[in-house]
């Protein structure tokens, strides 16, 4: 689904992303882990066409991201780190707007997403102004908005920051279901417990890949009990220092 080779992003003399090579398959939940400034968000922004790579190649569904950007945009849904629906529109009006933008008919799209709306408890609040919704609901609504056009590829940039643990678990349940239905999910997070939900993760530091693999296998490889420990070990920071 996604293929990158020698992906580099340079801001002036600062290399935000350095030689990232990825091969992500259909239906995979792929996680980006790393401290702030490690290059997760920059990589994701390049993958969904918001930033131009300085060098290297990105292919999505075997299409070059620069040459076929219009085609690719129809294939991907993006939920940014910053909550970005219109606060002064009702929840349903936001969904209508995004359906319109992606040129899909609203009613069928809503019908298709009904199970998710139910699961998220959003059906009853569709007529509410978005600004009046609690944070957790806003996040879920953003995800639904990103799914209006049924994209095979979904990017979630720190989707659960500022959301309580219970809501986070429900959120991941839905993400899991989406992956099961064949969607590819790219997610970045700094919650290590969330990394356990991913099929594969990449741990980044200073723009470079420091570890890549299945969470269970990585833990075994590094002899760590949990993701937190693994993360610190991989980054070469000992627990004692913290």
């Amino acid at each position: 689904m996604i293929h990158t080779s020698h992906l580099v992003k340079q801001f002036g003399s600062f290399k935000a992303v350095d030689e990232i090579n990825l091969e992500i398959g259909r239906g995979e939940i792929f996680g980006f882990l790393g401290a702030n400034g490690a290059g997760k968000t920059t990589t994701i922004r390049m993958l969904c066409g918001l930033l131009k790579p300085s060098s290297g190649e990105i292919r999505i569904d075997n299409l070059d991201i620069i040459k076929h950007s219009e085609q690719i945009k129809h294939k991907l849904g993006y939920m940014s780190q910053k909550f970005s629906l219109y606060p002064d529109l009702k929840a349903i009006e936001n969904l209508q707007f995004y359906a319109g933008i992606y040129r899909v008919s609203f009613e069928p799209a809503l019908k298709r997403l009904e199970p998710i709306l139910e699961q998220f408890g959003l059906s009853s609040i569709l007529k509410t102004l978005t600004q009046d919704l609690p944070m957790g609901y806003k996040q879920r609504l953003s995800l639904v908005a990103a799914l209006m056009h049924d994209p095979p590829l979904v990017f979630l940039d720190e989707p659960t920051s500022g959301v309580d643990p219970q809501a986070r678990r429900e959120f991941w349940q839905v993400i899991n279901d989406l992956a099961q239905s064949g969607k590819t999910i790219i997610v970045s997070t700094h919650f290590m417990d969330e990394a356990e939900y991913c099929h594969r993760v990449i741990i980044m530091q200073d723009g470079r890949e420091v570890a890549l693999g299945n969470p269970a296998e990585l833990k075994q490889e590094y002899g760590s009990a949990n993701m937190q420990e693994l993360f610190l070990k991989v980054l070469g920071v000992s627990d004692a220092k913290l």
């Binding site: 969904c48 066409g49 918001l50 219009e70 945009k73 129809h74 991907l76 993006y78 940014s80 910053k82 909550f83 970005s84 629906l85 219109y86 606060p87 002064d88 529109l89 009006e93 209508q96 707007f97 995004y98 359906a99 319109g100 933008i101 992606y102 040129r103 899909v104 008919s105 102004l129």
Partner: protein, 375 residues
């Protein structure tokens, strides 16, 4: 769904957002009404009830006749003065705004057909009002001579002073020299500018702040669709506001549209390409709504000051007149006045149409390019 469907989604969304914001509705419709009312009545260069002191050292039939021509009408209010007063003191003590001094031999000189003179002393602090007062007074005196020479024709030869050539001026289109006929179209032109520029200056940067612009950049929305989706609602809203302002001007000031409504709307739409373009240009270059506000206010103030609204453009230095010439607002204002007051036709205004079209094309084109690069 087609490309038009995408633009329609945008238009729907923009209208929903605007209609939902009470502050926005107030800014759009209540403020203009207030502005029209306050400025329409206040910004006037008509001068009424001028306090006039008359120092009559002649006390003849002629001088009394002259004084009575000043006291009729509401332009002058003759204030009582005593013999010992002098003109400069009356003015510095704020007792009078202008003082007419009639010299001792005025009547006799006049009757004999000799050169007679009158002195008018004015408070020149407000130069514009003083100039207006001066011309009013000159008018009254000219009338006086006119009448005198007619009544005297039977008795004595024409005195030298009464002019052989009589100037009859006729104020076309605004016979009463009503100031509102000139200011109201000006205010309307300013309203149209302020509304359209503010709306468009905030539009993009607001989405930048919210993060929704980034979200839009991930979608297949084309830039022209985004721009059209934003500008069409603003165009419609500004035209509605223009309509409301014209209606109010009719109700309150009795302003009647002398020209064609179609011409008025055509010019407004052409002009809006410039003002909306300027707003978009600002919006795509700044990073916050405050910056957008600051820049648009700065540009608007310059445009308004150089529009000929407060100071006639011909009174400005040559170099500033050139800047005024490239100020689209001054052309739009001229056009509004011509259409509203004179009823000028499209053919008569073709030069302005060319200028405003060129400006719209230039500014709008540039802002589209800038938008593509920045967003």
């Amino acid at each position: 769904m087609s490309s038009a469907g995408v633009i329609t989604s945008f238009i729907k969304k923009e209208f929903r957002q605007i209609m939902r914001s009470r502050e926005m509705l107030i800014v759009l419709f209540a403020l203009p009404a207030v502005q029209l009312l306050v400025m329409g009545f206040a910004v006037t260069n008509e001068v009424k009830n001028l306090r006039l002191g008359i120092l009559d050292y002649d006390r003849s039939a002629s001088s009394r006749d002259l004084i009575s021509s000043f006291s009729s009408g509401d332009r002058f209010q003759v204030v009582p003065v005593s013999e010992s007063d002098n003109a400069a003191e009356l003015i510095s003590a704020w007792k009078a705004q202008l003082v007419l001094v009639i010299p001792p031999d005025f009547g006799a000189d006049y009757q004999m057909g000799r050169q007679s003179s009158l002195q008018l002393v004015l408070d020149g602090i407000d130069g514009n009002s003083a100039a207006v007062a001066n011309s009013y007074a000159a008018g009254v005196i000219a009338d006086f001579y006119q009448r005198q020479s007619k009544t005297r024709l039977h008795r004595a030869p024409l005195p030298r002073l009464s002019p052989g050539v009589q100037l009859i001026s006729q104020m076309s289109f605004n016979p009463d020299l009503k100031s509102s006929l000139n200011t109201i179209p000006g205010i309307i032109a300013i309203l149209v500018t302020v509304t359209s520029m503010m709306l468009s200056a905030i539009s993009l940067v607001k989405e930048k702040e919210l993060g929704t612009l980034e979200q839009l950049m991930v979608t297949p929305v084309k830039r022209y669709q985004l721009m059209a989706g934003k500008l069409i609602p603003y165009l419609i809203i500004t035209l509605v506001q223009l309509q409301v302002a014209i209606l109010l001007a009719g109700l309150i000031f009795g302003l009647e549209l002398a020209g064609s409504y179609f011409t008025l709307i055509l010019f407004s739409v052409v002009y809006l390409f410039t003002s909306l373009g300027l707003g978009i240009l600002i919006s795509s270059r700044v990073n916050s709504q405050q910056q957008a506000m600051f820049f648009s206010w700065f540009i608007m103030v310059v445009m308004i000051l150089l529009s000929g609204f407060f100071v006639p453009i011909r009174n400005m230095p040559q170099s500033i007149q050139w800047i005024s010439f490239i100020n689209p607002l001054s052309h739009y204002m001229t056009v509004l006045r011509e259409i509203v007051v004179k009823g000028s036709s499209l053919a008569q205004l073709s030069r302005e149409l060319w200028i405003l079209s060129a400006s719209g094309l230039l500014v709008f084109g540039f802002s589209v390019l800038s938008f593509r690069k920045r967003v």
